[in-house]
Amino acid sequence: MQQPVIEVRDLVKRYRKADRNAVDGVSFSVYPGEFFALLGPNGAGKTTTISILTTTLAPTSGRVDIGGADAIHEAAAVRRQVGIIFQKPSIDRNLSGEENVRFHAILYGLYPYRPFYRMMPADYRRQVTELAALLGLGDEIFKPLKKLSGGMMRKLEIIRGLMHRPKVLFLDEPTAGLDAASRRNLWDYLKGVREQSDTTVFLTTHYLDEAEEADRICILDKGKVVKIGTPDEIKADLLQEYLVLDSADRSALRRELERKGLPVRDAGPFQVHLDGRTAQDVISSLDTELTVLRIHAPSLEDAYLKIVGTAIE
């Protein structure tokens, strides 16, 4: 069995003056190279969890290991192994793209401090040229970033976040505030990053379509893990396929379904749970004439809504 790169055990966080735990006994493991998504409504404890994992917040109790280092007592060792893309952009718009990148590289001990770009080692300058090409920026990488679009800023942050070759890349709702085209573009880019490197990606998101791409999903609600597994497992565990049936003579259809051991609760159209039978079996056994016939295959969104109920904003 592979050693997990992130191991969280019985994590609890209660903020000062709060009357309930923001994170309440959360445990999970993430394995190297995995794409892991933490999903949940607002206030579920996602940002609190990611803040503890990235060492910017101390937990009330519990244990967090990242790459074999204890996030509470060996924070610096953990920080060297992770890259973080925050909810709010952490690019300094008063500085140029290159200056942002240079500061990151120096803070992570990749290069010694030099006040000017031309004084930086050749290796660094080559990296910046490649990076500018990747972003399609050219010489603009040396100009203040004020005019850069949200999507481009995010990309620059991700490239910067990967400069020190982190084992884990944390993405805290990275596409919040981006338009649909920028979101798509960013995810295509991240997919490429994952294909080229074996970086573990830890994502928090509201967007179910983003989570659906993940290898595993952990759903948090009110500070607790309510479900963990692959997107398919979560859908299969929570929701079964069902038929939607209706007839001009609803009471006849209801009676017939009940006779066949398929009780329905709705007023109609009826949701008929298959309970191990195939849709073919059910339909072929019915005599009442049907006006509606549909097979409902659950989506992750259905599963999610079922789990978190009306808590979503």
Partner: protein, 259 residues
Amino acid sequence: MSDVSAILTVASRDVLKLGRDRTRLAFSIVFPLIFIGLMGGTLQGNLGRAAGFNFIGFIFTGVLGMTLFQSAAQGLISLIEDREQDFSQEMFVSPISRYSIVFGKILGESVVSLVQAVPAFGLALLLKVPLTLPIFALMLPAAVLACLLGAGFGVLAMSLLNSQRAAQQIFPFLMFPQFFLAGIFNPIKILPWYLAPFSLLSPLRYPVDLFRGILYQGRPEYSKIVLFDPLTNLAVMAAMFAVFLVIGTALFVRQETNR
């Protein structure tokens, strides 16, 4: 080595930002102009003869101390805001220590404050404040110390004020009384008994008095203006800086993760 590089990086960012912040640069030129030029000129015209000393030099040293101290303190306090926004998030999750961030910020904001003091010196020369080369040579290191004390004060204030809103509301209350207790614009040689202890507690009083000690050294008005000899001021500043820095940094580092 990497910590030294990190400190220099954090510091250089502040200096770079000042160079690109035209509003702040313009303000730093206008601010001393208003106080030294207008206030110094007015006071000199009306009270100079009665007081028996040159008010422009008095206001210049006061405003210089205030500008350096306040700018450095405010720069440190900006860490509260920065922590929740922009690039500073980056600093807080990088593998450098919180101490390096604080030291880098102190260094950077001190340089920024010193740059802002340049117009004050220029104006003082124009207004014929007796700034000789030896006086200037002594004032320069004193100005560095004033910045460091201000930054130290900022670290302590920042560690006690945990939100940007609290900082905006409370910081003026920490600074404003000091303008009078430290004698920026008003002589405080004679103070009522109930104000004297507060004046002694005001950190801003010491760098301002140090500047005056240097400027008026050997002049007849020295005894009318200067409160303590420069060495006493230096000793108090060193002690205050050490206390502010140790307590402030410790509280800040603790508060940072124990929310």
